[in-house]
């Protein structure tokens, strides 16, 4: 059926140690949106969700950029140009397009960076408001896609936890500075839960909108199993309600979420 298909790997790039970007080709990818993901068959019991790192919708191409963290990503790392991947997708709710009349800030951590690049690629054309990109990583060796941003004329501010590249520390420093300067910024962020929680906390006290792209362990990836939930509004008697990352996300408005 339409949303389950095989895509050919047409390019493969080892972008950093243990990080690889695969460019996939198949007509079904013409519909992909920034922030959406595909659910990739690997030898394990579950598929692996991966965000699109870049989109070439006219040609039915999309990238996925992954870090090796376990068995499935290790297997994907070994795939070569010419092989096919078995995908479900495009899946989930992507980013809402940014409002062209307000400043725009992208904040990415680790392998949360790829969907932000896809968003930039999609909506950058004719952007004339302030546009910032802050990228965080553990260390210099895990900083990815800076060159891609630069090639689009956008110079990311990089932070590393160990100070081995860019500013020492987390993205929160530059984030707060940017927000002081452009309080009405619309923020799009993706990265580790700790980072998103910090951004979410900081956002509460401010104006501006914030979209967060989340990760959660998934079963089906298509809304049937209720595995991939995160705590969300409204908060009832028993606590927050649970919403599905795979279909109601992965992108949420910050105010929809509870950290």
């Amino acid at each position: 059926m339409k949303n389950a298909f095989k895509a050919s790997i047409v390019a493969r790039d080892e972008v950093a140690p243990d990080h690889v970007e695969l460019i996939l080709s198949s007509p079904e990818l013409e519909d992909a949106q920034p922030g959406q993901f595909c659910h990739v068959l690997t030898p394990g019991m579950l598929r692996r969700p991966l965000s699109f790192s870049r989109l070439d919708r006219k040609r039915g191409r999309a990238g996925v950029l992954l870090q090796v963290v376990g068995s499935g990503t290790a297997w994907l790392y070994e795939r070569r140009v010419g092989e096919q991947l078995d995908l479900l997708g495009p899946l989930g709710r992507g980013f809402e397009p940014p409002d062209p009349s307000r400043p725009w800030l992208l904040v990415g951590g680790g392998v949360g960076i790829p969907p932000l690049y896809a968003a930039l690629q999609c909506w950058q054309a004719a952007w004339d408001q302030p546009l910032g990109v802050i990228l965080g990583a553990r260390a210099a060796t895990a900083v990815i896609m800076t060159k891609d941003f630069q090639d689009r004329g956008v110079y990311p501010l990089v932070t590393t936890d160990d100070g081995s590249l860019g500013r020492f520390g987390t993205v929160m420093g530059p984030f707060l500075e940017w927000m002081d300067r452009y309080p009405e910024s619309q923020v799009m962020a993706c990265g580790p839960t700790g980072m998103l929680a910090a951004l979410h906390g900081a956002a509460k006290a401010r104006q501006g909108s914030m979209q967060l792209c989340l990760e959660q362990r998934m079963g089906c990836g298509i809304g049937a199993c209720l595995a991939c939930v995160v705590p969300a509004q409204p908060i009832g008697e028993e606590g927050p309600c649970y919403r599905r990352v795979c279909t109601e996300g992965p992108v949420f408005q910050a105010e929809e979420l509870v950290f």
Binding site: G44, C220, A224
Partner: protein
């Protein structure tokens, strides 16, 4: 080969492959991937009178040839199901089985009573075996007396076929199955998941938000076959088997153990279309092992049957 299956109280399946409860949502989710009209049936996610919130995430974890889940029976409740899902299901030509749950005997009765009025519901599956919640799950499922009372309550409010879903997490699941049959169950479905857990080494914590979870997938197939075999040889009603089915050969194994139909769950996450290819393969696989029709295989591995034909 005629793949249809006739079950008690006029329940007729096009074929013996039913989507297992909790792995197939309420139907529409997989409709873009599977032609639902080709399935033997769909057992929907467990339904309670009021919405249930479920367990904290993470809710799934991979294990060798298995899957742990601790969904905790999150569901939108009876009213939403009737309002939003039954209209969709009305457009689908397959048997719809309402999987029902409750905190109390009375809650099970409520759901069954209300859904009994819905034409679109073809049968009930009474879930007294979910390991992920205390009430509405294993507390009923491990006590034959409670199993009797729940089944009786459901039986008292419906003329539709009722199956009771049995837990493998006890020494003698057939005692609970027999209690359900004594209370009027028309069928037994088995197995629900095995209680298990995993540790997330990085976080030094149980991997699942619910601490323990239910194990499903190929890893549990030997346990499931044994429970089906034992129940089929002890109770008089049809058994619907499940647990780790991935292929038509697996389906045949369950039939030989005594099942008359099967449910398929976890493998759907990997291969949404697998149920359809299993249906397609059944005639070929049946013939390869010398069976001419579905019923011929039912219980054929039981030791009182004639064996070693080849």
């Amino acid at each position: 080969m005629d793949l249809s299956v006739n079950l008690p109280r006029g329940l007729r399946l096009k074929n013996p492959i039913i989507a297992a409860s909790g792995t197939f949502g309420f139907g529409p989710e997989y409709a873009a991937y599977v032609d639902l009209n080709q399935l033997g049936g769909i057992s929907v996610k467990g339904i309670s009178p009021k919405p249930w919130r479920g367990n904290p995430p993470p809710r799934v974890w991979e294990t060798p040839a298995g899957l742990l889940n601790s969904i905790g029976l999150q569901n939108p409740g009876l009213a939403t199901f009737i309002e939003e899902d039954i209209p969709f299901l009305a457009s689908v030509d397959t048997a719809v089985i309402a999987n029902i749950i409750g905190h109390t005997v009375e809650e099970y009765r409520q759901v069954a009573e209300r859904l009994s009025q819905e034409e679109r519901i073809d049968a009930f599956e009474v879930n007294i075996s979910c390991p992920n919640v205390k009430e509405g799950g294993i507390s009923f499922g491990h006590d034959p007396r409670q199993a009797f009372l729940v089944t009786q309550a459901v039986r008292s409010v419906t003329e539709k076929p009722v199956m009771v879903k049995v837990s493998p997490n006890m020494a003698e699941p057939w005692v609970v199955a027999q209690a359900a049959v004594d209370a009027g169950a028309d069928m037994i479905s088995a197995i629900n998941t095995l209680v298990g857990m995993a540790i997330d080494l990085k976080r030094r914590r149980p991997a699942l938000g619910g601490v323990t979870g239910g194990l499903s997938g190929p890893a549990v197939k030997p346990v499931a076959l044994r429970v089906v075999y034992e129940i089929a040889s002890r109770v008089s009603v049809p058994v619907i088997g499940m647990g780790g089915i991935e292929s038509a050969e697996d389906v045949l194994e369950f039939f030989l153990a005594g099942a008359r139909a099967v449910m398929v769950g976890t493998v759907t996450f990997q291969y949404p279309e697998r149920m359809l290819s299993i249906i397609e393969e059944i005639p070929k696989v049946w013939r390869r092992y010398g069976f001419q029709d579905l019923p011929e295989a039912v219980g054929a591995a039981h030791l009182d049957k004639e064996g070693e034909p080849g």
